[in-house]
Subunit: 463 residues, 2 copies
């Protein structure tokens, strides 16, 4: 076919889609456990939703055009303006704090780089209406529990947490003049990516003495809560922010996610956007870009022309996280096939096969069979079993003329058992089947139970 | 906020989103049971994917524009060209028959009508590589089982099934000249929406005698399989198609969905698109547009420049189905709140509350609490319980200083029980909790079991 997909846009074949669904399921399950509810907005929005307030970088990369009605529109590059509008429209009626999440697909026309995508899915978790630091801790706990639900421990992933108000107090304490703080932030933002000599040169060219510049870098690079507290002992506001940070850490202990926590002043996110504690999640080995970033942005809703509500949130994309899971061998085996393949044996035909298949499906199992009646009539049961194995079916059910059938495990060669057909053929649900059968269908019973219970809510395969 | 959403685009507030998720869950669960696997494609595609082969109507309504790289692109108005490309690209490697489904959001710029949307979600279920009529029956069974999973019986919804090859044989048998079949189809397509006199006048103006025209309408309007079979007894090919239709009905019986089946020759879908059996799902009362439509289109993949594989499929949108569910009172109660609200009582504070909340969340429950530490310290337990009730929490857990807690049902005023905190505070999973506790936490145990098992796979709330 001549028309390929656009560069930077992904096609999700079933094996790719299974990983995406697995990830989305974990996102949704953790968000639900934290009492967040899902919302969504339009993927196409009026252009001025983004041009009025968003950063220049985003506007340059917009998929913008004029629709048939002459409206200037754009594919959404981020979710925040949409959620700000939705919250503002119902600000009075919504119970506070508002706990919302969404998994939008976002679009940016980035200049083509090898492998760089122009769309991705991003989990957005936001909390509106609570200024207490408990909300900050709650937010990071969501992100950490998602890591845990994906099988990523604190040996794999760390949250680097900062607060620019602490950083600015520190830098001023070290001798950086207030108007030059932005210069220092820019240098600290590159502390791990560029040689320090160059960073110091740039800072001193801007007016920060070279020795001060160097101390800024070394202190922020290697600062603990204790060291910072000692250094700040005299500065008034900064002490308040430090106490907030220490309280934050205590809260994370109560949440059971303190092992993910690292205090790290080199995190300098969105210079104008955030107003308090910010964080990023990184893989410990440093092989990937940030998995997730967020923090408090108490002025944003007001600035976007909506209501004045304290707010905080994070975004977590599907691309880096999926790559990390694959690289660390934590991606699930999502290629598994159907639960059960129904085989015509000993003269049974399409009618018995479809009736049995329909019964299994009503119980909640995924079931398949040789769909062509012609093939079904001509293929011996061994040939059908080959087809079942190729489809990676877990069990085969061989039907015979008598009122019984053989359930055969296709993953465990020795496991064969006879089962009365009548028991399950007439069961209208898994529950009914489980109640009606005794020991004679242990394999099928176990399969059903695993399908119905899924082995716990955090580990439920979607299929 | 001044920038509203674009006309025709929906915002999904949590209560709307909950219904959408409930519907998507049912779509996915039924598709999984029928061994279909999910895929997805890009929402933005090269324009010529649609202009080369799609109908004029679709092209007129495209959201098309030029991207920053000078490419002519369009938001996807339908999924079929995308899936045809994806299947063609891996036609050799894919195990046949290919059972695929997807839930894309689709976009059409329809001229503004009141309430008419410019986007919707559409379940696409497709089966590639099987020409046997068993595949046709399998496809309709998927659609009918979705109705069943949504609580819609054959009293609510019917599948109207036709085959244009039977219709054309019939019309020719009734005396319609072969070149005028298209005229007859167009009239039959309007058989329920326009007065017959006008339809007959149009047919006869085109050259079909008025008495023939009238018989065409009355026969197709009120035809059963038996009546058609009698009428067709002499025509060769048509008998073959009738036998196929009769076999189709037998297959539907084996699938257990025959109660939804109606043979109805007035269904004249996509004149050039379909090549065999076609169907539409309608609400019995006729209040809504079609819920779903599909059928066999064996030439489509070849015509789109891909591979030559027999194919069939259907599309089912979210809008009509959601409206129908609401109108018939079958939409679920999706406004339910969190499972459990943790309350500080008798001098306990934020630390105990968060630790308990975190433990409940680890078990898979959704848990919430008064997030502000300041409010938590100042609010009496009764005030916290008010907050919990407003949040529609099902249970409250009142923590006291001793190693025990009170679990209170907020939906059943009499149900109070004491529970040892130790048992669940240190459980790392629901399973561990259920094993560690005895009778003293029956309510919590039942809640947990319901959350873990979800009451069966077809009825699992997402939250």
């Amino acid at each position: 076919m001549s028309t390929a997909a656009l560069p930077g846009f992904r096609e999700f074949y079933p094996e790719d889609m299974a990983l995406r669904s697995w990830l989305f399921d974990r996102w949704r399950d953790v968000a639900r456990r934290f009492a967040f509810v899902e919302y969504d907005g339009p993927p196409l929005e009026p252009l001025d939703l983004y041009t009025k307030k968003s950063g220049d970088e985003i506007v340059d990369q917009l998929y913008a055009f004029e629709d048939k009605g002459g409206r200037a529109v754009a594919l959404r590059p981020e979710m925040t303006p949409t959620v700000a509008r939705m919250v503002a429209a119902r600000a009075q009626a919504l119970r506070k704090p508002v706990r919302w999440f969404s998994i939008p697909q976002l679009f940016r026309y980035e200049r083509q780089q090898r492998g760089r995508l122009r769309e991705h899915f991003q989990l957005n978790v936001d909390l509106f209406g609570e200024s207490d630091v408990a909300a900050d801790a709650e937010l990071l706990a969501v992100a950490c529990e998602i890591m845990r639900a994906c099988g990523l421990s604190a040996d794999d992933v760390r949250a680097r947490v900062s607060d620019r108000r602490i950083l600015s107090a520190l830098l001023e304490g070290l001798g950086v003049p207030s108007p030059l703080l932005g210069v220092a932030y820019a240098a600290i933002d590159k502390i791990d990516r560029e040689p320090w000599d160059g960073l110091v040169a740039r800072m001193s060219a801007a007016g920060i003495p070279a020795d001060v510049a160097r101390e800024c870098l070394s202190f922020t690079k290697d600062s603990s809560l204790d060291r910072v507290r000692q250094r700040l002992s005299t500065a008034g506001r900064a002490v308040e922010f430090m106490e907030r940070m220490e309280r934050y850490e205590e809260l994370l202990v109560a949440h059971g996610v303190q092992d993910y926590f690292t205090f790290d002043l080199t995190i300098v996110r969105g210079l104008t956007y955030y107003t308090g504690i910010v964080f990023e999640l990184f893989d410990v080995r440093g092989d990937f870009r940030a998995i997730c970033g967020g923090g408090r942005y108490d002025n944003l809703l007001r600035d976007l022309g909506g209501v004045d509500l304290p707010a905080l949130g994070f975004g977590m994309g599907d691309v880096v996280l999926s790559e990390l899971l694959k690289a660390r061998g934590r991606a699930p085996d999502v290629g598994s096939g159907v639960d059960i393949w129904v085989v015509a044996d000993e003269g049974t035909g399409w009618r018995e096969v479809i009736e049995a298949t329909a019964a299994l499906r009503r119980m909640g199992l995924s079931a398949d069979y040789v769909l062509s009646a012609e093939k079904l009539a001509s293929q011996k049961s061994n040939k059908q079993l080959d087809v079942a194995r190729k489809a990676r079916a877990r069990y085969a059910l061989l039907l015979s003329r008598e009122e019984s059938a053989t359930l055969r495990s296709l993953t465990d060669a020795g496991a064969n058992e006879r089962t009365r057909v009548a028991a399950w053929l007439h069961a209208s649900s898994a529950q009914e089947f489980l109640e009606a059968t005794g020991d004679e269908a242990d394999g099928l019973r176990a399969l059903l139970r695993s399908r119905v219970t899924g082995g716990g809510t955090t580990d439920r395969p979607r299929g």
